[in-house]
Symmetry: C2
Subunit: 247 residues, 2 copies
Amino acid sequence: MSEISSGNNRKVEVVYSPALFPVYFDNNDCIVVVIDVFRATSAICAAFESGVDSLIPVATLEEAIEYKQKGFKVGAERNAEIVEGFDFGNSPLTFKDGRFKNESLVLTTTNGTKALEMAKPANKVVIGAFTNLSALCDYVEREDKDVLLLCAGWKDRFNLEDTLFAGAVAQKISQNLRFSNLSDSSIAAINMYDSAKDDLFDFLGESSHRKRLSRLNMEEDIIYCLTKDQSSIVPVLEGDMLVSNKR
Amino acid sequence: MSEISSGNNRKVEVVYSPALFPVYFDNNDCIVVVIDVFRATSAICAAFESGVDSLIPVATLEEAIEYKQKGFKVGAERNAEIVEGFDFGNSPLTFKDGRFKNESLVLTTTNGTKALEMAKPANKVVIGAFTNLSALCDYVEREDKDVLLLCAGWKDRFNLEDTLFAGAVAQKISQNLRFSNLSDSSIAAINMYDSAKDDLFDFLGESSHRKRLSRLNMEEDIIYCLTKDQSSIVPVLEGDMLVSNKR
């Protein structure tokens, strides 16, 4: 049978919470896309776009402090705010002026860096955000592996913005590669993205995290995080360190 | 402030998988609706509608065998089929002829009875299916508690049919009670139900479990399970036993 009639047997699954990752992760030889749209993965993409050389994601503040003591520039966010004593948080706008060009950074966040830690046993781990959507999809399509779209969520709860992004990716790659093996979680995420894509900002008006960020006057961050294709870089995990796929 | 302007502060959350239940279950004083549309909870509703007196859900085949040895009529399903040696599986059509009227039954299924077991620490546990949708919503609305809509899923994975039903319930009770506290998981489930409600059967055409049941020639079961309001009974857990709310 031709590829056109048979479709593609790679799997694409959306994992709605880090707490579900062990359920879906049954095969190391996959590509995991870590998604934390508000705002860790958007910030990581912005960092690389601004010329950052590498970024070490760490799960705990303890590790972050150790790196700081070694002289690294270290970002730390908890509950949407910069942790006192650190150099930055997870606002993508931090990187706009190129102040960390060529540097090696360290970052810990409430949800995103924990999801990254969890994904490490996978053969390939990459960072996705609306800001690098097309580049990410191209990258994922070229790898001949099953795809897990891992939503960082909020403290292991489902959230809308990560699911919408996962739906955008699942839709794009399943159309381009004619995937025949869409899971229920992908079907649902694609359906949701389809109904929201014409106005993501409006659709997210009721979401818990947009409300949380709005209370903290972060509307500018939200608009940035929902603006597609501002970067053509895909951050890729190499060992414990994220680097640009274009390095 | 009037109820109209302030809304209702009860929470309604959709739990997409039993593996996420510990994340959402932070307060015993809630009502948990256990949902396994294909087919455990549809079958349980059908059993009560046919006049069954009580039904003991058990999580394991070992427990089911013990009850059988004590002389109970026992149903057991694994991977969508009746387990050899048991009296029935989880097809709701089993109960059509009233053969178990006034009996006390026992049932174990792949997903539904495990979700029930997990929900037991909650103050109130009830059974939901499209077949008792309106009665269930009335019941839930009358209880003054937070609501967790627990989707049994498939082996801890997200599935479409349970989510659609959760969306139907979340939509109905949030409109009637003017809930102001919808979680992201409820917003997503309501959105999905809205886009699917005009033809649930068609929407589920690509779902993994409908395909699984179709391969086993269970189309008649599927149509039954998607037909709303065939029963006005809400099965309620009392101790280890489900009974009718009308008893």
